[in-house]
């Protein structure tokens, strides 16, 4: 393989007219023009890599931002919220000095390409988000949607997804305490794999993605970097999945849950010994995201020697390193006097850790421009940019919105026209049909592949409506969780459909005996460039924000997944809503079953 010529900042300054593949990386003309304006020159290819992933829909929320704002604007006053939206995950006070953090995230497209690994790495990613907040991950849930059971592709996708979740979650030692299983023709070419993780921490243990203190070291730890999912962040996660992207499919990310388990124990030991100043996990945009976000959250200054990143494949270029989605990696900011202790803990857990740079000071002018992130490759400067422009100041779009033309017809088409059962026998047949539908029938063929006992704190799990765990080994305090979503309802009325999903999750939590406290959400929609989809999105977010306001329960975080479509056909809009509740004494929990010892009890329908 010929060594690609290195594109340096000096070269970029001297060759303003060089053609750059920004369109292939998913950037629009005006976005590219803005990068040039920010830098005052053309970007180097490494800088282009950073901007393209950071400004992708997946990382920048450029189409959804204007709508997500209302979650904060309409948020009920709530003293329980310790960390709100914007960080890796929200943190909620649950009393006695304890807090929990939880979040749900999608891994839809990767799970279609390679179901087992896609779903596995989806679990891995959300678990690292929770760990990054300083919490011990204590449980996971999974909300799944597939095409009909008898569709040929479902046979490939469903077993793979379930085995991936089972493999990764079980191997991490996190109990699976609930989830959903839904089927609809709309998901044939676009399954939904939404994974939720919840973690527990003490108030004083909250960690943030920031890099204060010039002179502090930037340490990359965990897996070595390989060509996993290169281009994935912009190509896989946010562009329509079509034949063409099939052809230029990047190398699939493969998960290593064993390494992630070591990373969890290692990180918790690092936190306990107070050895990190700031921390970030490496998700979709890998090193690009971690460095720009950490720098932007700190002094604004950082210097990275990219050639120090330990590689699995020595041929990787700086651009590829910046875009690699290799799993099971974290980045920490460590003060120099604690570096030796930090390295010792990593060595104890057999986790590779490498200093790749340090936090730097910035001048007031540099701060004004958005800080200064410099990266070198064997001594040559390949990146010199204001990190905040990549992490926080990406493009924001007010996408056109239009109520779909078939909406009225859809709503007019009520079930009234369906024939009623003529007699008992027909009623019986219909009832049996409903009960046998795969989305209604017993899901234990899926859930029996998930460990629900590990950690020994699972109070409720399948088949109960919500999951519940005890959050400490010595007390009785617990949290309950449920996720719900219904694409068909939401298609019929996105505003009400989303509220129904919220209400159902809320009821499931309340019915377990816990008091609902906070909301997370994963918004699975079609292309934001389709005004009809954007209308659904606007209505759904408005519905959720209003509903949360009404219920007095804040949204603490979530995830948006756009471009869920096959060709031009979008999935039914599917917001999956997760509600977390708190219960003072888990012994007061209520199960879905009638307790065995009850007789002569009365049944009430509320």
């Amino acid at each position: 393989m010929p060594e690609a010529a290195l594109d340096t900042v000096a070269k970029a300054a001297g060759s303003p007219e060089a053609a750059q593949p920004y369109a292939e990386l998913g950037m629009k003309d005006d976005e590219y023009a803005r990068v040039r304006e920010i830098l005052g020159r053309r970007p180097t290819s490494a800088e282009l890599a950073i901007y393209s992933v950071m400004w992708s829909e997946h990382c920048s929320y450029k189409s959804s931002k204007v709508h997500l704002r209302q979650f904060a604007e309409k948020a009920p006053r709530n003293d329980a919220l310790l960390v709100g939206m914007g960080e890796n995950a929200g943190v909620v006070d649950v009393g006695d000095g304890y807090a929990v953090t939880f979040k749900i995230e999608s891994h839809n497209h990767p799970s279609y390409v390679e179901p087992h690994q896609g779903a596995a790495t989806g679990v891995g990613g959300i678990v690292r988000d929770i760990l990054t907040m300083g919490a011990r991950p204590v449980a996971v849930m999974d909300a799944l949607r597939f095409g009909p059971l008898d569709a040929p592709d479902t046979r490939r996708v469903l077993p793979g997804v379930v085995s991936g979740i089972s493999f990764y979650g079980n191997c991490l030692g996190l109990p699976n305490i609930g989830g959903e299983l839904g089927f609809d023709p709309g998901y044939v070419g676009n399954p939904l794999v939404n994974a939720l993780c919840v973690g527990v921490l003490r108030h004083e243990d909250i960690k943030l993605a920031q890099a204060p203190g010039p002179g502090n070291k930037v340490v990359l730890f965990g897996a070595t970097t390989g060509p996993d999912g290169i281009g994935g962040a912009s190509v896989l996660a946010s562009a329509t999945f079509d034949e063409e992207s099939h052809a230029k499919r990047p190398s699939v990310q493969v998960g290593d849950p064993f390494l992630e388990k070591l990373l969890i124990e290692c990180s918790l030991e690092l936190f306990a010994a107070d050895l990190v100043v700031g921390i970030q996990d490496l998700g979709a945009a890998g090193v690009s995201c971690a460095t720009t976000e950490l720098a932007a959250g700190g002094t604004g200054g950082m210097r990275i020697e990219l050639d120090r990143v330990p590689l699995r494949d020595s041929r990787l270029t700086p651009e590829e390193i910046l875009m690699s989605e290799s799993q099971e990696r974290m980045m920490a900011i460590v003060s120099p006097d604690k570096l030796a202790a930090f390295m010792d803990v990593c060595a104890k857990w057999d986790v590779v850790a490498t200093v790749i740079g340090e936090v730097t000071d910035v001048t007031p002018e540099e701060a004004e421009r958005g800080g200064r992130l410099v990266m070198t490759w064997h001594g040559e400067t390949v990146v010199d940019m204001p990190p905040r422009t990549a992490s926080d100041e990406g493009p924001v779009y007010e996408r056109p919105i239009a109520r779909p033309s078939d909406q009225d017809a859809l709503q007019a088409d009520t079930p009234d026209r369906l024939p009623r059962p003529a007699d008992d026998a027909e009623l019986r047949t219909q009832l049996l049909q409903v009960l046998a539908a795969p989305g209604i029938a017993d899901p234990s063929w899926v859930t029996s592949q998930y460990d629900r006992y590990v950690l020994g704190n699972t109070v409720l799990a399948t088949p109960d409506d919500g999951g519940m765990i005890r959050i400490t080994d010595h007390g009785d305090r617990g949290v309950a969780l449920a996720t719900d979503g219904n694409g068909r309802y939401t298609r019929l009325d996105p505003y009400a459909g989303t509220q129904l999903a919220l209400a159902e999750a809320y009821r499931n939590v309340a019915a377990s005996g816990a008091r609902p406290h906070a909301v997370t959400n994963c918004l699975n929609f079609g292309s934001p460039e389709d005004p009809g989809v954007m209308w659904q999105f606007a209505e759904a977010t408005r519905g959720l924000a209003d509903g949360c306001h009404e219920l007095g329960t804040p949204v603490t975080g979530g995830n948006v997944s756009f471009y869920n479509q096959t060709g031009a056909t979008a999935i039914n809009p599917t917001p999956v809503i997760g509600v977390l509740g708190v219960i003072g004494d888990v012994r007061d929990r209520l199960t879905s079953a009638f307790p065995a010892e009850t007789t002569d009890a009365r049944l009430y329908l509320l």
Binding site: P227, R249, V252, Q253, V254, D256, F258, L259, R312, D350
Partner: protein, 80 residues
């Protein structure tokens, strides 16, 4: 009866956690000079009768669709 062997290995660019775990263990167990280990699968497929071109093509199709996952794995086939 004849036997076709299908060797399935992860593509070289794909992470192989299993191989890594083994290399790690080799070091601790004092096996020197083991540079790399990759773990794959070996299938022994017994076919009825002779292995002619048609049979071989069948096994190849079997490998592509069932034995190997072409997204992350390569395979090789040989008659034994």
């Amino acid at each position: 009866m004849a036997r076709v062997v299908v060797d399935v290995m992860l593509k070289p660019e794909i992470l192989d956690p299993q191989g890594q775990a083994i290399v790690g263990a080799c070091g601790r167990l004092g096996f020197e000079g083991i540079a790399q280990v990759r773990q794959g699968k070996r299938f022994e497929v017994q076919v009825d009768g002779e292995v002619d071109d048609a049979k071989l093509a069948d096994v190849r199709r079997l490998a592509e669709t069932l034995l190997a996952n072409p997204v992350i794995e390569d395979f090789e086939l040989r008659v034994e």
